[in-house]
Structures are given as structure tokens and as C-alpha cells.
């Protein structure tokens, strides 16, 4: 959920609660005010009526709420003595509306002459609560909607303007690749938090870069430094093996040491290669004809396969092209084909088919599926006897990732690798 919508969501709930509570308070407050003012009017009216009655006694005959809004009826002194002015709500049938409408009624008592006591009831039309509530409700709904809309609009504009630096920093972080120097364009903002964020991000990426570069250099230096001692070891043993003085057993020992030095060399080279691929140091790309690369590698490996009685069947009717570094294309294909042969059974088979946008390698082998999650891990081996580097598939994955190639594996008695470009 975007920040924008997030604030809006909370605001909408909060506003609803605030407006509802406010509406209740407002309603009662207003009703109170209205009643007050009506009661003042009634009080005033009472004074007027009493004054007029003393001048014109015919008014005393208003005994029902007809065209006038008061009634007068005589009462006893006893009743009058304990009576106080009473305001109450009542309802009166209104002809024009053809229904009962709410009224406020003042009941009071006055004395005209010495012993004549009268009771006076005056009514005044009040606001219809239903109508008021309804009106209030709709106004509030409108208010709510308008506030939300303005919050949304203001938020959009504000967010875009105020949060722009934030999104710039975010983009910078998204584009950040360790080891790559990012264009340091200072993000212009007056907001202190963003300035600090930007500064922190810059410092952080700088630190990551430095660590990354030093680590990368360490790996490369270590690998390079190993080359010379390896060269000395291998070459010395090769010269030693040439000497006629060694017996068969000694030669076998020398051979075994040599093989292990070779393995170390391969491991070293492969680690260097992996680090280079991951650093995307193989930049020059060109249109590579993968069908040709596959054909060439099949030819290269066929002696090796034939030695173990493995039959390679290549179905290469389609031409498959991919823009990538040609060396990496070669390494990708050779690793996959090599794997299909190495992890095969004697007298097994390897089927290679080329589709319009992918190629497939299927091979016989161990009668169980490989662990997909670990397949591309460094130093993952199916069996510990193999003297491979354990980096072949990691290299395949690294190359694939570089060029957004996907590699799928599944097992149905045969091991299937699908490479989709």
C-alpha cells in the first residue's frame, strides 16, 4: 500500500468518527439553542397576550388552537397558586401538512381581576427533528466526501512535491549495484529529514561499495597470487615425471599430486570466472548463434561421451540466436552439456533439442530427482566422488541471470533442463 493511500485510509476512518461525534454534539447543542430561543419567544408572547387581554377581554374566549396559537381557560385560585410556568413538547394536527407536527407549549397562569384566574397555553412551531436530522445527515455526508476528496487532492500534490526527494533516494537505491559508482547528483530539498536520509544513503552505498570492491579485489588477488605457486608446482612435477629415475609407483604418486594441482587450478580459474561473471565484466555482447555453439560443443564432447558409451542425439533444425557475450555463451552451453555427460550412466544417452526460443537437454542418470533448491548452489554435489569443482551450475546460473535467461529443471525418469531465452 502506498504511503498516499495509507494516510488516506486512516484519515477516512478518523474523519468518520470525528464527524459523527461532532454531529451528535452539534445536534443537541443546536436543539438546545432553538428551544431556548422558542421559549424566549413564548415568554414574550405571554406578556403580550396578558397585556392585550387586560385591554380586550374578548380574547378570553380563545378556547382552542384554531387560527390563533394560544388557548385560555379559567382556573381555580388553588390551582393557580401552585402553578409555575411549564414548557413542554406536544403535537398538534396541522391541516396543511395533514399530520401531527411537533410544537413547544408554554403553560402559564395569570390573574385578571381579583379573583379571576386563567390558565394560558401558548404553542410555537418547532423544527421537525426528523427533517433536521435528515438534513444534517446529508450535509455531513457531503462534508465528509468533500473533505476526503480535498485531502486526496492536496495529498497527491503535496506528496508529489514534498516526497519527491524521497522517491529520488528510493530510485537511487533501486538502481544501486554494488561495485558500480552511482551518479552522485545531490538531491535538492529543504526538508531536513530527507537531507539526512540522502546523506545516510550516500554514506551507506559508499561503504557497501568499498567493502564490495575490497572483497572482490581480495578474491581476485588471492586467486591471482595462487597462480604462480601452482605454476611452479605443476611445472616442477612435470619435469620430475620426465626424469627416467622414477619407478612406476613414484610416477603414480606424482600423477596423483599433479591431478590435484590441476583440480586446484580449475577451482581457482572457475572462482575467478564466477566473480567476473557476477561483476558483469564480460560486457561486449554480440548476436550469438547458439545452435552453432551447441553443435560445436557436442562435437567437442563426443569423444568423451563415446568413451563411456553415451549417445548424444542432437536435434538442431532451428537456428537459435541470443545477444550475449560469445565466451559466456560457450561456457553456458559447455557446462550444461558436460554436466549431462558427467552425471550420466555408462551406455546412457543425452538428447538435445532446439526450439524456437529455448533449448532442452535431457539425459539419463541417477534415478532420482535433484534438489532443485540446491541445484545452482556453489559446491553442491550429487556425489562426493566426482572431482568436479562443484561450481558448474553456479556458473550457469550466474550467466543466465546476467542475460535474463531462465533455466528449469524437472525429472521424470530422465533429467530435463530447459533453457529459455
Amino acid at each position: 500500500m502506498k504511503l498516499h493511500n495509507y494516510t488516506l485510509r486512516y484519515l477516512s476512518v478518523a474523519l468518520l468518527a470525528i464527524i459523527s461525534i461532532w454531529a451528535v454534539i452539534f445536534y443537541f447543542d443546536m436543539m438546545d439553542e432553538v428551544n431556548d430561543s422558542i421559549e424566549e419567544g413564548l415568554e414574550n408572547y405571554k406578556e403580550l397576550i396578558i397585556q392585550r387581554i387586560s385591554e380586550d377581554s374578548t380574547l378570553l374566549h380563545e378556547t382552542a388552537f384554531a387560527e390563533s396559537n394560544y388557548v385560555i381557560r379559567p382556573t381555580t385560585q388553588k390551582h393557580a397558586k401552585k402553578h409555575k410556568d411549564v414548557y413542554q413538547d406536544t403535537a398538534i394536527y396541522i391541516i396543511s401538512e395533514k399530520e401531527m407536527e411537533p410544537f413547544r407549549m408554554l403553560t402559564t397562569v395569570f390573574k385578571l381581576k381579583d379573583d379571576e384566574y386563567y390558565e394560558l397555553k401558548i404553542v410555537s412551531s418547532v423544527i421537525e427533528e426528523d427533517d433536521l436530522m435528515e438534513g444534517l445527515f446529508y450535509s455531513l455526508i457531503w462534508l465528509y466526501v468533500i473533505i476526503l476528496a480535498s485531502v486526496y487532492i492536496v495529498n497527491s500534490i503535496l506528496l508529489r512535491r514534498i516526497w519527491n526527494p524521497f522517491y529520488d533516494v528510493l530510485k537511487k537505491l533501486k538502481d544501486f549495484k554494488p561495485g558500480e559508482s552511482i551518479q552522485v547528483e545531490p538531491i535538492a530539498t529543504k526538508i531536513q529529514e530527507f537531507r539526512e536520509l540522502n546523506k545516510t544513503v550516500d554514506e551507506l552505498t559508499d561503504r557497501v561499495n568499498k567493502t564490495y570492491i575490497s572483497q572482490k579485489q581480495f578474491i581476485e588477488n588471492a586467486a591471482h597470487e595462487l597462480q604462480t605457486p601452482l605454476a611452479i608446482g605443476i611445472n616442477k612435477l612435470e619435469l620430475l615425471a620426465e626424469k627416467q629415475t622414477l619407478g612406476e609407483q613414484d610416477l603414480n604418486e606424482v600423477s596423483s599430486v599433479l591431478d590435484n594441482l590441476q583440480r586446484l587450478t580449475r577451482l581457482n580459474k572457475t572462482l575467478l570466472l564466477l566473480s567476473r561473471i557476477e561483476n558483469a565484466q564480460f560486457t561486449p555482447s554480440e548476436e550469438v548463434n547458439l545452435t552453432e555453439v551447441i553443435k560445436r560443443n557436442v562435437e567437442l564432447f563426443e569423444d568423451f561421451a563415446a568413451f563411456r558409451g553415451i549417445n548424444i542425439v542432437l536435434n538442431a533444425e532451428k537456428e537459435l540466436f541470443k545477444t550475449m557475450n560469445p565466451d559466456l555463451a560457450e561456457i553456458l552451453v559447455s557446462n550444461l552439456i558436460k554436466n549431462a555427460i558427467v552425471h550420466n550412466i555408462n551406455e546412457g544417452k543425452v538428447d538435445i533439442a532446439i526450439g524456437s526460443n529455448s533449448f532442452f537437454i535431457s539425459n539419463t542418470g541417477k534415478d532420482a530427482a535433484l534438489d532443485k533448491a540446491q541445484l545452482f548452489n556453489r559446491f553442491y554435489r550429487q556425489n562426493t566422488e566426482a572431482s568436479g569443482t562443484g561450481l558448474g551450475m553456479a556458473i550457469v546460473k550466474a550467466i543466465a541471470d546476467n542475460y535474463s535467461i531462465t533455466i528449469d529443471y524437472h525429472f521424470d525418469g530422465l533429467h530435463h533442463i530447459k533453457v529459455s531465452l
Binding site: 591471482h224 611445472n235 620426465e242 587450478t265 560443443n297
Partner: protein
């Protein structure tokens, strides 16, 4: 044939030297930048093996000086830094080949031989052992003027042996040379046996007076019978 080895690592310098002495080369050494510069500009060599990382300077600067003074002999860069940039720059500066460390002595021999062959004018495109003659340029093999037909890999294998006559050729080295750079990820070189067997058969049928011997576990050696 005179070869100058420019290499700061004493052990490596000597082991390369020892190998080249067995090829009957005259070998000279330089261990740092100044010695290398002095020797390479003062004397003529048939081939210079040049390390790039030297105490006192870069091997690439030696190449630049040689190029400027027009003293370019056959230079093979041997570098621990298998970097594409160095390789391209070195070759651009006039080096003939680039061999990343670690390498096999047989591979170094082959590189030196082919560099020398390319630069020689007197039909240096052939090599012979016993009654076997191999033409590198035409890619043909003859036993006493009778053509011997070989496929590409068999020819490359034989050529590699011809460049390492009487020398032990490591099986790893042979595999990398003939089957390419990526074969080094194939862990099992036993398949070479069957390849050698075929080659031996062909040599025997054509009565070639050479023999490919297996050296226990390590590799092979081609000698005249």
C-alpha cells in the same frame, strides 16, 4: 635458439629454464624490470617470455620500449593475471601470444614452437620425427612421402606431440590443447586413452617409426623407435 625468460619468481624462472634447456635452447634470465629492459634492448633473442608484474615496472612498458626501438622479437606474455584487458593490450603492443599461469611445460613448448615457426622464413612449417613429417600449415602428415589421413583431433594431438618431441606430455595439457579451453572442466581424462589408441593404430598401419608411450598416470611421450 636463444630465449630470454623475464620472470621475478625465482622458482618459476628456473623450472621454465630447465624445461627449455631440455629443448636445447640457450636460456637467459632477467628477474626485474631494469635487468629485463637492459637485456631485451641490448641483445637479440629468438623468443622472449615476459611476465607482466615485475619489480620495478610493468612488462607492458618493456613491450612499449621494444616496439619503439624496433627491437621486437617473438614475445610471449606469461601472466598470473588472466585479464582480457592485459591480453588485448599486450597483443596490441606487438606480443605474439598470451599464456596465463599456471601452464603446462608442454603447452609453453608448443606456443614457443608455433611463434618461432610463424616468424621463420625457411619453410619452418614442417617438423619431423623418424620417418614422420608433419606440415603445420597444410595440416598434412606423411610417412616417407605417403600421406597419412587423420581427423582434426588426431592431427592436433600428433602436432602437439611433434612440438614436444621426446618430452612427457601431461594428459591434462593434451586435453586442453586439443579439446579446447572448456574441456578442462571435464574431470575425467581417461577418454584420451581411446583417442591415443586410434592414433597409435593409424601410425602403426602406416609403418611410422615413432611410438607414443604411456607414462604411468601422468601422460604420454612420443619418441622415435
Amino acid at each position: 635458439m636463444k630465449v630470454l625468460i623475464i620472470e621475478d619468481e625465482v622458482e618459476l624462472r628456473h623450472v621454465i629454464g630447465e624445461s627449455l634447456l631440455r629443448e636445447n635452447f640457450v636460456v637467459e634470465y632477467a628477474r626485474d624490470f631494469n635487468a629485463a629492459l637492459e637485456k631485451s634492448t641490448s641483445y637479440d633473442y629468438d623468443c622472449i617470455l615476459l611476465d607482466i608484474g615485475l619489480p620495478g615496472g610493468s612488462g607492458l612498458d618493456i613491450l612499449r620500449t621494444l616496439k619503439k626501438e624496433n627491437k621486437m622479437s617473438n614475445v610471449i606474455i606469461i601472466s598470473a593475471k588472466d585479464s582480457l584487458d592485459d591480453k588485448l593490450e599486450g597483443l596490441d603492443l606487438g606480443a605474439d601470444d598470451y599464456l596465463p599461469k599456471p601452464f603446462h611445460v608442454a603447452e609453453l613448448n608448443a606456443r614457443i614452437r608455433s611463434v618461432l615457426r610463424r616468424k621463420s622464413f625457411d619453410g619452418g612449417n614442417t617438423a619431423s620425427l623418424g620417418n614422420l613429417t608433419l606440415n603445420f600449415l597444410d595440416r598434412t602428415v606423411a610417412v616417407e612421402q605417403m600421406d597419412l589421413v587423420l581427423n582434426r583431433k588426431e592431427f592436433d594431438t600428433l602436432a602437439y606431440f611433434m612440438m614436444n618431441k621426446n618430452r612427457l606430455v601431461n594428459k591434462n595439457s593434451l586435453a586442453e590443447h586439443v579439446w579446447g579451453d572448456y574441456i578442462d572442466r571435464v574431470d575425467d581424462f581417461e577418454f584420451i586413452y581411446s583417442q591415443i589408441k586410434n592414433l597409435r593404430k593409424k601410425l602403426k598401419y602406416s609403418n611410422a617409426s615413432v611410438e607414443i608411450q604411456a607414462v604411468y598416470g601422468v601422460g604420454y611421450k612420443m619418441t622415435e623407435v
